[in-house]
């Protein structure tokens, strides 16, 4: 019998994350289930990007990814974000910060909206924002401060070559964002977080499209059926063959796990 094909990416429900966080030892048990699924990458919070699934308890996706990411030091994490309430400057620095503390294993899934967040009074800046512009600003900000500008020359006192750090100067017009930059945070070991988009959003130059009928995410198998293939074959993304042992001491980045290169800077400036 052919062994079941493990999914490359599993989606963990927010309700499961919240329940795990609220139970002693819950996060560790959830981590065991994720390992049992055979997946290399975990999508967190994507249920808030669809109206039908955005019910029940929630846990902030970046906080959940940080906690799970420390418990699972080799997995990649994709966290759901949307322009419903939050400003891209705050999201950009939080996600890039997360990418640093999880050693380059982080990406985002940009949705059109967070269906579980109140829509009254949001966003505080006025009209609903375009998720494609939101994604462009995030990626633009991630490229304002190159990591290798940091040299830390103790003798001369030069911490970073700041001439290589640039503002973004994004101006999205009357209904768009205006964001000066640069970001507070330098780029990461994998260049920048992976930019995936939910199926209802079109972002030219995105690394990956997820969700919907075309790219369904495999759900995390339950505690008792961890060994089963469990709809894994429905996922259109399957994991590539994996070396038995990592050959380098440095763990693979999310980009490496997904087989993605750092995209060309020109792809998002249009």
């Amino acid at each position: 019998m052919t062994p079941p094909v493990a999914p490359l990416i599993v989606a963990v429900l927010e309700a499961d994350l919240a329940a795990a966080a609220a139970t002693p030892g819950g996060i560790a048990r959830l981590a065991v289930r994720i390992v049992g699924s055979g997946a290399a990458v975990v999508a967190i919070g994507t249920d808030r990007l669809d109206a039908a699934t955005s019910t029940g308890h929630r846990l902030d996706p970046t906080t959940a990814a940080l906690t799970l990411g420390r418990a699972l030091p080799e997995h990649g994490f994709l966290v759901a974000v949307a322009p419903t309430r939050e400003h891209p400057y705050n999201v950009a620095r939080r996600v890039l910060s997360l990418d640093h503390v999880l050693d380059g294993r982080v990406g985002i899934v940009v949705g059109a909206r967070d269906h579980g967040a109140p829509s009254t009074g949001a966003p505080s800046t006025g009209a609903p924002h375009d998720p494609a512009e939101f994604a462009r600003v995030l990626r633009g900000l991630w490229r304002t401060w190159p990591l290798d500008s940091i040299v830390g020359d103790r003798t001369s006192g030069v911490f970073a070559h700041t001439d290589r750090i640039r503002p973004l100067d994004h101006d999205g017009g009357p209904d768009g964002y205006r964001v000066r930059g640069p970001l507070t945070t330098p780029s990461s070991r994998q260049g920048e977080p992976v930019l995936a988009v939910w199926h209802d959003v079109d972002v030219p130059g995105a690394d990956l499209v997820l969700g919907g009928a075309a790219h369904p995410l495999a759900p995390l198998p339950g505690e008792t059926d961890g060994a089963e293939p469990h709809r894994a074959s429905r996922s259109t993304v399957t994991r590539p063959p994996r070396p038995t042992r990592p050959t380098r001491p440095t763990r693979p980045t999310l980009r490496a796990l997904l087989g993605l290169a750092v995209p060309d800077a020109a792809a998002v400036t249009a």
Binding site: A18, A19, A21, A22, I27, G56, H57, R58, L59, D60, T62, T63, A64, L66, T67, R70, R85, E86, H87, Y89, N90, R93, R94, S97, L98, H100, V101, L102, D103, G116, A117, P118, T120, G121, A122, P123, S124, T125, T144, W145, L147, I150, V151, G152, R154, G157, V158, F159, A160, T162, I165, R178, V179, R180, G181, L183, T184, T185, P186, S188
Partner: protein, 425 residues
């Protein structure tokens, strides 16, 4: 007089400022500059702080790029760094700053309660207002609101976040239609071990103190001398009572800079070495910021002109921190023999500083605590990780022997510990 629970009730926090409060701290230790970006660096600092039974670590926040050659600081978003520390510790309080001017209340409520839940009830939110053009430009705002408007929004924002946190426990939706914020909804994060995060406040203006008296459980104050510190502490605790709270519901925790050495002379040598390696004019610019004046053309051997010190400041339109301005002006007046002398004593860059032995630091911490000038202090340590190890290994044991600092964590949650050691007036 102190209220019940005052024994061993000193609150000690650490302000995590990059490689240390001294701008040159990365040059005097063998550190990799990108350590500031790792979970391990922050986790190790957390473990050291917890070994010393410190109550909390604290991150300020400035959501705009700052020149790392002046000071490498704030490279990670505070609550992400706190998440890494939470993972490495079990009791340490985790205090992060988030602006009420440039954040969304639903997001702040959900994010902070999530970390509070995951960490076992150890999170506090330092609710600040933001006045800074470099920040507003990142958020598409051309002009910052004036102080009354910023604080009116801050008050509404804190109330709304707190209401959302309560809704997480009750399931009752929040219906809020205020002057600045509109929101209807319920927070669906499970409540934490301490219910929801503790609230801190850091502004020293009359508006800031009023907000602290009404809602804060902790205040990061700016105090350079004990008598005004006592007055301000009495005023905030007294105002808390007029809001129907108890004076012991709010703890006042001023900043305190430390440069420690095994002798006073050694500490002074370390201070001088760190100052000499700091970027040119760093402390002059820091003083100028708090006085809202350009001091670069002044004669270093003459006193700071009274025109700068006597200037009337309009609390409505004055942008920078009023608390710093008031405190620093008072201190400069008392020490104004020359600009050079003022700068020599200004090593805390606005915070009180001790350059001396652990015994000397313990003396002044104990004195401020016992005489009601403070309920504790938020330490601004010269170098990380080295200076924190000195504090934990040498300063903490002295404070324990003197009976002002605890010998074990009274409670797992931050709010539980504040309650266990609450002091009135």
């Amino acid at each position: 007089m102190t209220g019940s629970g005052g024994d061993a009730g000193l609150i000690l926090g650490v302000n995590l400022q990059g490689f240390g409060q001294r701008p040159a701290a990365w040059r005097t230790q063998v550190v990799d500059p990108t350590d500031l970006l790792t979970a391990e660096f922050w986790g190790d600092l957390g473990r050291t702080a917890e070994r010393g039974l410190l109550d909390m670590v604290f991150f300020a926040d400035h959501p705009a790029f700052g020149d790392p050659n002046v000071r490498a600081y704030g490279l990670l978003e505070p609550f992400v760094a706190l998440g890494a520390i939470a993972d490495a510790t079990s009791h340490l309080g985790l205090v992060g700053t988030a602006s009420t001017t440039y954040n969304d209340p639903f997001d702040v409520a959900e994010r902070l309660l999530s970390l509070d839940l995951v960490s076992g009830g150890r999170v506090a939110w330092n609710a600040v207002t933001t006045y800074d053009r470099s920040v507003s430009a990142n958020f598409g705002v051309a002009t910052n609101p004036d102080r009354p408007e910023r604080y009116a929004r801050a008050g509404e924002f804190v109330d709304l976040v707190t209401a959302l946190w309560r809704s997480a426990a009750t399931g009752e939706p929040v219906v809020h239609h205020g002057e600045f914020l509109d929101l209807e909804g319920v927070l669906r994060v499970p409540p934490s071990a301490q219910g929801h995060p503790v609230v801190f406040q850091a502004g020293g203006s009359p508006h800031g103190r009023d907000l602290a008296a009404r809602v804060a459980e902790g205040v990061f104050a700016v105090e350079l001398t004990p008598e005004p510190a006592r007055e301000h502490r009495r005023a905030v605790k007294g105002a808390a009572e007029t809001y129907g709270r108890s004076a012991s519901d709010v703890a006042i925790v001023p900043g305190l800079s430390l440069v420690l050495g095994s002798t006073e002379a050694e500490a002074q040598r370390r201070f001088d070495e760190l100052e000499a390696l700091a970027p040119d004019g760093y402390s002059l610019r820091a003083l100028g910021t708090h006085l809202d004046a350009d001091l670069s053309g002044l004669d270093p051997d003459a006193p700071i002109p009274s025109a700068i010190l006597d200037r009337e400041v309009d609390p409505v339109t004055y942008g920078p921190s009023l608390g710093y301005h008031e405190t620093v002006v008072r201190w400069v007046r008392a020490n104004n023999t020359s600009l050079r002398d003022v700068l020599r004593g200004f090593g805390g860059y606005g915070a009180r500083i001790v350059v001396g032995t652990p015994e000397q630091a313990a003396d002044t911490i104990e004195d401020w605590y016992r005489t009601g000038a403070a309920d504790g202090c938020n330490l601004m340590i010269d170098e990380f990780p080295r200076g924190l190890e000195t504090v934990v290994d040498e300063l903490v044991p002295i404070l324990q022997r003197r009976g002002v600092f605890h010998r074990s964590y009274e409670d797992v949650t931050l709010r539980g510990r504040f309650a266990a050691r609450a002091r009135g007036l």
